[in-house]
Amino acid sequence: MSTSDVGREGVRGARPDREAMIGQGGHPPDGRGGRRRGRRGEKAMVPDAEFGSYYGKPILNPPVWKAADIAGYFFLGGLAGAGSVLAAGSQLTGRPAAARALKISSLAAISGSTAALIHDLGRPGRFYNMLRVMKPTSPMSMGSWLLAAYGPAAGAAAVLDVTGLFPRLGRAATAGAAVLGPGVAAYTAVLAADTAVPAWHEGYRELPFVFVGSAAVAASGMALAAAPPRETAPMRTAALCGAALELGATKLMERRLGLVAENYREGTGGRLMRAARALTVAGAAGGALLGGQSRTAAVLGGAALLAGSACTRFGVFHAGIRSAEDPKYTVVPQRERIRAREAEPA
């Protein structure tokens, strides 16, 4: 129904003129990108990044991986891989109980990580597909082959130790798993970094060190929790070294990432990274200082180390997802790259 009325004086009661609502595509009216920082009144350390975007939609398609599967896969792979090295070391230096516990935990962890991978793929048959080809350009292909070699070695090491059968074969399997273990712990960093996800790709230099540090933390935590204190002295040192490596590499990575490092400080990823730091420091300190005297302290410290390592992997995972979902982290660093390139020849 019309509410306007045309009379001698012209139109009365017409709707007021108004400007068409022009959408938020391209450069938003305030010249800023879709999302802003500092929502809760916190002071922004870096000035807001200005960038254009298509209605704030992500540029990348974020990973479809489920956190529990893939971050869990990263964590369990690290626990297994570093555990095999500690198991071999324990065996060689006369620490049989620790060696056995670590071999069992490595077998359990690698089985769990394979299950997580298969769960993410959806059908067991799809894991065999992974072995159709061997592709050095695909970290997932290389990782599947690594897993196919490491898994049986870790399994044989555990089974032969527990049953006491074929001791020579057992030693060979233990050594084999120890040789492949560090690869299993480190390759998952390449798996994540070989994507366009800004928080993962740009950290590709430090991420493997974060991952192996975190793997050492997890495996020594497992040893502290599962082996008698009289055997775990090297594991307590390993926990300290692993924690130092992990925290140091994380710091370095955040410095290199610049704007993208926000994803490791804010949101779910930030919370998990903070929890990881607290748990790892507490576990390493408590486990190292008291784990030799008290079994309770060792178990608690070990549990904290394991939880800390898991938080690191989940933190890295969520930081990556967050960085892929906000176009800012794709556009701004690429713009800076273009600017730097243009400035170069001058």
């Binding site: 254009g52 070391g89 080809v133 970290p139 002295a233 040192t237």
Partner: protein, 275 residues
């Protein structure tokens, strides 16, 4: 062979989106009201292989509004619509193809990049690897899908369905050299007309992905269209990634060996036990 998409003549009719869906039997993926201008498909995905973007901007059509060639509203500068049909770029160095662990993605004899759906095992690795956010996982199917550049049509000498359907020839299909030549001419023409914002995107074989098999003429920065300004194929850094991972693995093995060496045998070690 490839695509040249000249967005300056796109009228946003979405014939390409529809033709693509029809020809390739791509399932429906939700009819939502997005509030994003006239865009109801939002972006490329498993079930949207061509996507028409609608950008409403508070800017005049021409950067020279006073020369009489292009009418502009008033002192405010008026507004303009940018419409652009986006598609898989069929990168010369395709990250999706590089990282696929099953070899499901392959390069065709036309230089395009195609997924074989019977081999894809749904690992989802190609999805975050694509620097353009093109390939995606189909819900309930688990496998990855994207534009095939109508591989089946090319095989029998036909042009892709989208190019065939485009009423303004905004989408052109042909040998890349020829398309690049035509594109360069069109940019000059637009510059002469005062449209100084016209630029090509993805045409340069020296860029981070070795040039795109599908390139574009844009009227604004790429990010305004939801395109990355400086995409790089992620596997360019892969050798360095493997080196860093190798160093990290060696550090782990070496570090732990050193720890055990420092502690020595349990029976003889100084700090071997506290009992």
């Amino acid at each position: 062979m490839g695509f040249f998409t000249d967005t300056s003549v796109c009228i946003g009719c979405k014939a390409c989106e529809v033709a693509c869906k029809e020809w390739n039997a791509v399932p429906e993926d939700g009819l939502e009201f997005t509030g994003m201008s006239y865009d109801n498909t939002q972006g490329l995905g498993a079930d949207t292989w061509r996507h028409v973007a609608f950008i409403e901007q508070d800017r005049p059509v021409s950067t020279r509004p006073d020369d009489g060639t292009v009418p502009s509203a008033d002192g405010n500068g008026g507004m303009r619509w940018l419409m652009a049909s986006d598609v898989c770029k069929h990168c010369t160095h395709a990250a999706c193809l590089d990282v696929c662990p099953t070899g499901s993605l392959f390069r065709t004899e036309f230089g395009t990049v195609v997924v074989q759906e019977d081999i894809c095992n749904g690992c989802g690795y190609c999805i975050p690897a694509c620097p353009y956010g093109v390939i995606d996982q189909r819900k309930g199917d688990g496998r990855a899908w994207k534009c095939t550049l109508c591989y089946d049509r090319l095989g029998v000498g036909m042009e892709p369905a989208c190019a065939k359907a485009c009423p303004t020839d905004s989408i052109q299909y042909g040998p890349l050299d020829e398309l690049r030549e035509r594109a360069a001419m069109r940019v000059d023409q637009l510059h002469d007309m005062g449209v100084e914002d016209a630029r090509l995107y993805g045409h340069d074989p020296e860029d981070g992905v070795g040039g795109d098999g599908a390139f574009f003429l844009l009227l604004d920065e790429p990010e305004v269209y939801g395109l990355p300004p400086d995409p790089v194929v992620t596997t360019r850094d892969l050798p360095s990634m493997w080196r860093h991972a190798g160093a990290a693995a060696a550090a782990l093995a070496g570090g732990l060996a050193a720890v055990f060496a420092a502690h020595g045998l349990r029976d003889h070690g100084l700090r071997g036990g506290t009992r």
